[in-house]
Amino acid sequence: MPVGQLLIEGLAMGACYGLFGLAVVIIYKTSEVINFAAGEMAMFSTYIVFHMLTVYNCPFWLAFLMALVFAAILGVLVQYIFLRPAKNPTLLGLIVITLGVEMLLMGLASWKWGAEGQAFYLPVSYKVTYEPISGFIVSEWAMAVFITAAVIMAFLYFFFKHTKLGTAMRATQQNKHAAKIMGIQTDMIFAFAWAFSSVIGVIAAMLLSAKAILDPQFMMEPFLRAFAAAVLGGLMSVPGVLIGGAIMGLLENFFGYAWPAWKPITAFVVIVLVLCVRPSGLFAKHYIKKV
């Protein structure tokens, strides 16, 4: 059993899930909405990169930047058009709205680009490998994933701790009404959270697309895994979701190596078992329900 390689691959996959889980967590933290459309929003933005590359022959960095801008606009639009008008929504109502957005984007993408898979190449490949320590094979892709994850984590830490906007986001999460009284424009904060989450989502989707074929459903399975990772981390804590993602990726890789047929579900089963023991995730603060 090539432990080293499984470990590194698992951690890289886990970092991708964790990054994508961050997209779910940022929205849940600020507005208590589970964004089931996160996967499809990222998928749509990845298609934008694909479109820029194939139709307009842009260089990769330009296409990537355009996709980030597009993702931010898409996030704000979804929040503004579909979520803001909902009056006193229930949890189920919000889930249904975001599922509706998911269907809508999936339908639009397959209408525009066709339902069949497209070849999509990142500048980093997981076939180019290095072996710094014997037994530990690191691919170019895994390195890109680790670097991206580290940069985004550092940025998020700095952002939430030391910027005015980040503090405002934390305040909105703690108490929406109090934040409003303090002069924070909570509507703006929600829109910003959606844009932010959408941008992180598209970065994670680009990394994940290296391992998949680009088709309108390619983000569905990774989204479920990222969501599971976020739930495992408690849906509220930023480090928690990355640890949840790492656990998810490692479990999936090791179980997948032992029983390849059951790879897609083992991690889920483990997560449900963990949830039975700790109902609100591993890293959530003790959960008290308001009566």
Binding site: V96, G100, V231, I265, L275, V291
Partner: protein, 356 residues
């Protein structure tokens, strides 16, 4: 307006003569449909009725008990596979097989209900979702369930073939009547469940589970019971679905199907049996009839073809149904959160007091 003055008024099946009249008219229409509908529409009606059964069951869980499930395609699959396998491998007669299958499904519902005692909100969603995915993969990887290639439904024999007493239903018309009878029974049972002690306990749990526990409702029993009842409905629906389709594989029961079921009850109206029926009929018609051949729809079809040729791809046009469904879901939640049933209540209220 809908004030009840006595217990009997709350539990009676028909509230007024008008309702009896319309129910009987609806029954007459339903029983005579094969006289004037083509075979394709009968297939559609069969599908609608199967979806009505599962939507009614899901509504007991989601609408009345307030537990969100994204894994009902799993129960649906258990019903379909168990019915077919009992009939082909063990030669169990159809009616026994479908009931046993529904009980197996209910047992799995009970199992899934256990974590639901501790989980809620997003955490419960992920648990049910994982259940649906797990069932799909277990079926896909086990040879006795036909693996990835799927299973063929046997001839629908409603007699007891072992005793030499067989009665094979071949046509869509005969299947239509069988499913219609099942649907009517299941809907009546659902209406009555909601009026019993258990039904009221479900509603109390939905409104506040802590308060329900305080007034003496055993959460363990009623939450798992709600899951089991809902899974029982899904099992029956799955068993019938197997024969409507004739052939099915694990991919039939994917996550999207669970989402469709959820959409049916949300569009129809949470917590109401009539709502689930209209929602199931509406969504099934939209998904399986209207947008399956969107090109043949007058005006809209040619318009969409022009648009697709101009800016988009013509092959992708078949995915219109996803767009339409998404818009319906969002529209319902934004403009009429109680669904079609809520709209109906509003209309009724308006006309009851009309001139004022």
């Amino acid at each position: 307006m809908d004030m009840k003055r006595a217990y009997y008024e709350d539990i009676e099946l028909f509230k007024s003569g008008v309702i009896i009249f319309w129910t009987i008219s609806l029954m007459i229409v339903l029983f005579t449909i094969p006289l004037y509908a083509s075979n394709y529409y009968l297939y559609l009606f069969n599908l609608i009725m199967v979806h009505v059964i599962i939507a009614v069951g899901l509504n007991i869980l989601v609408g009345s008990t307030g537990q969100i499930s994204l894994g009902h395609a799993g129960f649906f699959a258990i019903g379909a596979y168990a019915t077919v396998l009992l009939m082909t491998k063990l030669q169990v007669p159809f009616f026994a097989a479908i009931i046993i299958a529904a009980f197996i499904s209910a047992f799995f519902g009970f199992i899934l209900g256990l974590p639901a005692l501790r989980l809620e909100g997003p955490y419960l969603t992920i648990a049910t979702l994982a259940f649906g995915l797990a069932i799909m993969h277990i079926i896909g990887h086990t040879d006795i369930f036909g693996g990835r290639t799927g299973l063929m439904a046997p001839p629908l024999d409603v007699g007891v073939p072992k005793l030499g007493w067989s009665w094979i239903l071949k046509t869509d018309v005969s299947k239509y009547y069988l499913i219609l009878i099942f649907t009517i029974i299941m809907v009546l049972v659902a209406i009555n469940i909601l009026k019993t002690k258990a039904g009221r306990a479900f509603v109390a749990i939905r409104d506040s589970d802590i308060a329900a526990e305080v007034i003496g409702i055993n959460l363990t029993i009623y939450k798992t019971l709600s899951f089991a009842v809902s899974a029982f409905y899904a099992g029956i629906a799955g068993g019938l679905f197997a024969f409507v389709l004739g052939f099915f594989d694990p991919v039939t029961f994917n996550l999207l199907l669970s989402i469709y079921f959820l959409v049916m009850i949300v569009v129809g109206g949470l917590g109401s049996v009539m709502g689930s029926i209209t929602g199931a009929a509406f969504i099934t018609y939209l998904m399986y009839a209207l947008f399956k051949n969107v090109r043949e729809v007058p005006y809209l079809g040619s318009f969409l073809v022009t648009i697709s040729e101009r800016w988009l791809t013509i092959t992708g046009l078949d995915n219109m149904s996803a767009i339409a469904l998404g818009l319906v879901m969002i529209g319902i939640m934004l403009f009429e959160p109680l669904g079609i049933f809520g709209a109906w209540i509003r209309v009724k209220k308006y006309w009851k007091t009309w001139p004022f």
